[in-house]
Symmetry: C2
Subunit: 367 residues, 2 copies
């Protein structure tokens, strides 16, 4: 008996775990974080009605989920004003991005993204043998013109663009995003990641007819709706592309509790508005804390704020480690020059107080 | 702008939803099922301690899961007596099978399974362009010798084998399964699907050293542990193969509630034993109901029983539809000659009474 040979693509992929969660850091440190501000989760939590719905659904966890996600799709259809045939629900945006890349990227196909944008998207593109091409950010913004030019240059099959952006929190105007799509090469799909759209100003949301053949939009219940641990995302776009997900998706992959939680969270728009107000307050608070320590922040349309530590990556890393040492979990952008920032998620009074307490020491010990 | 072209493999795949859930049937019928006995779920539910743990975890659903599944892997390590490096946790056996096929099957690679075995496995093999070869069952049993012969004949990279079997519920002796693995061609992996192993007699469980390079075993919390809607499966096998899952898996794909539920369910072995007792009683009950209607059953090592309707597929389909019309959800094997049976999941007194009530009418109206 011999060892089993992996596919050529799988052989080429690193074996390492590419994503380190806060629990791993807690196990290393031997103590829990005081403030969990690194993953842009919503410390405000989901709607109490979503919690009640999930608790009720726990009793039914012996049943598989509805593989059609029927009720949630109907609710999203009403919410978005598009027919349910244009909507697919999946195991978070991460899961949906994996399916999308698998559906359209052959080994060697060109894919374009911004250098320093969402690493999980890159993980999927590499995972299916796609050929990643990147363009740098322009300051703190993804560079639409450069993405378009690169897409034409490399004959891209797929372009990734997040609006608002992660990790910087900036956004482009909706009309510029709509134009972006119209300027891509023939046969090139725009994956518009709108994970943070629910938290952005209305001007950031493009008006793109859902039938537009080269745009797919993805949103999530992980951010504004406070359900990161439930893994519920959705995509909407042209029917033929959306229905192709049925070819490959894990049909019984949703959990019953998550379906119930997302449905109830979406229905409680009053709580949703309450949370977006708290997020806006927290953005202001993070900016205030940063300024009182002599730092500046990047204006954000999301539930996090990039804080410019004012020097280089090495310094920002020391600040980040100083915060973690004091029990405040934050993360930072992955590439230069963005990585002179730390990325701080919004949170409630307790989390903001912990950040305010820890930042001066972290800056001092960073030198 | 043009429509987006799918990959060659994706183009070849059917667009249709391959799996119809009971909720879809309920929506068609306009009324809920009285007894849900079609998907081998556990109507006995999970441990009350698992329910309590899930209810507590609901409060933390704003947090992403621990991507390492650390605590559950530690518990499984103790339970199985193998080091955690030999274990991967994933979104149900369905999710893990998708990852495994992706890791080792290139387009055109030969894969062997039994004709009428697990359709989701076939879905994944087709989904990655593998070349499926099947051998018929021998009576109500998967045919080990034929699987071995076919694997050599087609130079298979992967062989699927479920022990106990689904949809027939039969099992082979553990020592025969262990021998099976040793007789496969060089470089051929045995995927041993043990979804029902927790419900089988000890003699069905093979002793295969976990380091054996050509065997991977998969188990689930969906059956005996009553957590189908939570999507928690695990695989164990040689370290190099297990760790390769990190190359492609959806690292944050588990839900926080499901991790908590599985951990608590595994810890409550007393309740687990209680359920296996109830399942055994229900198997006897299904047999009794069948016999009192002049039918025979296939002896089962699982939480379901295949009932031979005594005639052909057409007749069995009429019986199945007659049960569904009366609010009793059951399923049947997908291919001839297995499909003269209906497959009835175990259940409590209420479900068994509903089945006992509905069967005579279903047989009568089937003619």
């Amino acid at each position: 008996m011999t060892h089993i040979k992996l596919t050529k693509i799988a052989q080429s992929l690193p074996n390492a775990v590419p994503f380190v969660g806060p629990e791993a850091l807690e196990r290393q440190r031997g103590v829990a974080f005081k403030a969990r501000l690194g993953a842009n989760e919503s410390t405000f939590g989901p709607s109490p009605k979503a919690i009640a719905a999930m608790n009720a659904a726990v009793q039914e966890t012996w049943k598989y989920c509805d593989p059609e996600n029927h009720d949630l799709k109907e609710a999203l259809s009403a919410h978005l004003g598009v027919h349910r045939d244009h909507i697919v629900v999946g195991e978070g945006i991460d899961g949906l991005q994996g399916y999308l890349v698998r559906l359209i990227i052959e080994p060697g196909d060109a894919v374009v993204t911004s250098l320093g944008a969402y690493p999980t998207f890159n993980f999927h593109v590499n995972g299916f043998g796609g050929d990643l091409h990147t363009v740098p950010y322009q300051g703190n913004f993804e560079d639409i013109d450069a993405l378009i030019a690169k897409a034409h240059q490399v004959k891209a099959k797929l372009v990734y663009f997040a609006n608002p952006d992660n990790p910087m929190g900036t956004h482009h105007r909706g009309q510029d995003v709509a134009e972006f799509a119209s300027k891509l090469p023939k046969g090139c799909l725009l994956l518009l990641d709108e994970a943070y759209a629910d938290l952005a100003p209305p001007e950031a949301i493009p008006e793109i007819p859902v039938k537009t053949p080269n745009v797919i939009r993805m949103r999530t219940f992980s951010k504004a709706y406070g359900l990161a641990g439930a893994r519920v995302g959705y995509a909407f776009g042209p029917v033929d592309l959306i229905q192709a997900f049925d070819k490959v998706r894990n049909h019984f992959g949703m959990t019953r509790v998550s379906q119930a939680g997302a449905l109830a969270a979406l229905a409680d728009q009053e709580y949703f508005k309450h949370v977006t107000g708290l997020v806006a307050q927290s953005r202001t608070k993070i900016d205030k804390i940063a300024r009182s320590n002599g730092l500046i922040t990047v204006p954000s349309a999301t539930n996090f704020v990039a804080v410019d530590c004012g020097r280089d990556h090495e310094f920002a890393t020391l600040v980040l480690n100083g915060l973690i040492d004091q029990g405040v979990f934050v993360r930072m952008p992955g590439v230069s020059p963005l990585n002179r920032h730390i990325r701080v998620s919004c949170g409630g009074e307790q989390e903001m107080a912990a950040f305010a307490d820890a930042l001066p020491d972290a800056l001092r010990s960073a030198g």
